[in-house]
Symmetry: C2
Subunit: 351 residues, 2 copies
DNA sequence: CGCTACATTTGGATCGTTCTATATCCGACG
DNA sequence: CGTCGGATATAGAACGATCCAAATGTAGCG
């Protein structure tokens, strides 16, 4: 007998169990939810039958009837970035523990794609959305995709355009300003005077904030920052390598750089090596994020630890807390970052 | 007027649109699915109204009625591991493009937690499951959680216990045997004679296969492998550091090691440095996976490229293809890996 | 005019659950 | 004996979409 003729059993439902036990659907439903209303004897018979037939609960049907949700949508730029991967792991951990399931989406840093991903995710009826916005995504368009009632939490970035007062969202931000200040102050204390800020885009929130922290620390130390010492790049290793020339081909060349993040710092280190300059000896630099690689490259990278997995857990907890109270005023949480001093932030070579 | 008194609009449904346009639910439904049956004029009126009211399609309700699914469950050990993060990114890319959504779950390498995660995910009715099994997970228990009809694809590992003939699954495996052979042959060609296999667990499928490839290559070269040259560890950096002593405290000490994966190799490099040995000079080693860090550590790590993101895409494509034909015989796909030679696999110091 | 052909629309049943209100049973109590 | 209360069980209408079979309108044609 060919296997294609094997009986394709329909999925087992409440009705099948009810029929087999000679009780009503309602009773089986009560058993499933451990209601105390059902007689002990009946409960046991039903449970045995559930087991026997391999019943699988259909949460979608239940959610439809109850108008509830059992999922959270998580939208990040790129899981390939260890920072976001750790963040996602933290989110999923808490979301899963709360009995929810994580719907994943990634934007590849494109506002267009983000729009498509959000529209697709929202049709699956998540209870809320955790979004690390792609660069250039606008508040209005996000609201169009998600509707005005959807609980939302922005991570790490803000949306562009007006925030509608009617539908506020929560925000979880790293203390980018203070972090960049810490890194800058550290390099100044090491004796550097010509310090640049390298990488990241000016239009992104963390880019602005880190740059602001850098400039504030420089100003307090009464150090000049020529405009050419502020070099932009995409926030990844590859584009940082490309942009390095604009930083290093200057006269006078800076002796140190505060980098937008670790990926960018690693790119700069690569280009330094290519030019025969030894990072951590001839040129000092700091990163941001403290990804695993930061401790492993040689020289090890001084950076700011953001504990991305814990941030993910925190984001999930904040959103889950918000589910109950969708109408309340949006909260903004800023979490401190910690300077981790390693070998890359040497004193200047002359000193 | 306090905002808590603001009108909490019910969600917009087909019925609302139908009422506003003075047509039936069925017509609106046809418009939504771009059916050619509906008159052009009507279609435009309905579409305008959908826009105006901010209608959001309820895919769960549609799936219930149509007995279809629009999601794929993805269960990995740990997103914090860049190999799995890249894999997940690849899966989500293809799954998303196909109009499905990814349900995420992570097991933390625990068979117990995997069981719980699978049971939770399956209640959300995914069309299929991509599973990178936790160590020690058994075929029978997985089938219990997922039911006999669920399309499944195993990645990278096989399940323990008997494979029930009734419900076959697809498998996507790296060519672990050949990969380990390549690495071993390369070290032999460099002049090494005392070569060890370091890290990984013997009970896991890739562990067995890589070890087998290593032993086969050694045997072909007529080189002896003392039992003490096979050192186990958990497949992560931390435990590799711990296990390094068992490898390096031997007499005669090996001059080279084929490592289970990159994480383990990086751990071993760390411990070598701590003992004043220079990896890539005094001791040769190879990894497996070619994670980003492999190219960046110093010395850069010779390893086997597995292209995890492309593997993720491939896994998703295989599973999506299988959705249509759930009863066919399970396929096993093995993909080649590529040796990437870098600095860590030096010749032996004496030679 | 009656008939068919075609284009368009629609009511009601249905998917698998939960909710609400009601029914049934049984012993106790006045 | 009537009826009241607690403990269980259940019928039927939701939830928001889709499918099916049938209805409607409109035009063409002999």
């Amino acid at each position: 007998m060919p296997s294609s003729h094997a009986p394709v059993r329909r999925k087992v439902t409440l009705i099948d169990i009810a029929a087999a036990c000679d009780v009503s659907r309602a009773t089986v439903s009560l058993v499933l939810r451990n209601s105390p209303l059902v007689n002990r004897h009946t409960r046991e018979r039903v449970q045995a039958e559930l087991q026997r037939q391999g019943y699988i609960y259909n949460r979608a049907a239940a959610n439809l009837r109850r108008r509830t949700s059992s999922s959270i949508a998580l939208v990040v730029n790129d899981l390939g970035n260890p920072f976001f991967a750790e963040f996602a792991a933290g989110v999923d951990e808490v979301v899963g523990t709360a009995g929810f399931v994580t719907l994943l989406g990634s934007t590849g840093e494109s506002a267009e794609r983000q729009q498509a991903v959000l529209s697709s995710l929202v049709e699956h009826g998540p209870g809320g959305v955790i979004l690390s916005p792609a660069e250039g995504s606008e508040a209005g368009r996000v609201m169009d995709a998600l509707g005005p009632q959807m609980p939302m939490l922005m991570f790490n970035r803000e949306l562009e355009g007006e925030t509608p007062a009617s539908a506020p969202w929560d925000i979880l931000m790293l203390d980018n300003v203070r972090g960049a200040e810490l890194a800058t102050e550290h390099l100044i204390a090491q004796g550097h005077r010509r310090i640049a800020f390298f990488g990241g885009h000016t239009r992104s929130t963390p880019g602005q904030q880190r740059r602001a922290g850098f400039l504030a620390a420089m100003k307090r130390a009464k150090l000049k920052v020529p405009g050419s010492y502020l070099v932009e790049s995409a926030p990844n290793r590859l584009d940082a390598v490309r942009a390095s020339a604009a930083l290093l081909d200057q006269d006078p060349v800076p002796t140190a750089a505060v980098c937008y993040n670790d990926a960018v710092a690693l790119g700069l280190m690569l280009e330094l090596g290519r030019r025969g300059l030894r990072p951590g000896r001839d040129f000092a630099l700091t990163g941001f994020d403290n990804i695993d690689e930061a401790a492993l490259v040689s020289p090890a990278l001084t950076t700011l630890a953001t504990a991305p997995r814990e941030r993910g857990r925190q984001a999930a907890r904040l959103l889950l807390a918000r589910l109950g109270h969708p109408q309340e005023h949006g909260q903004c949480t800023t979490v401190p970052v910690e300077l981790v001093i390693r070998e890359s932030s040497c004193p200047p070579p002359a000193a």
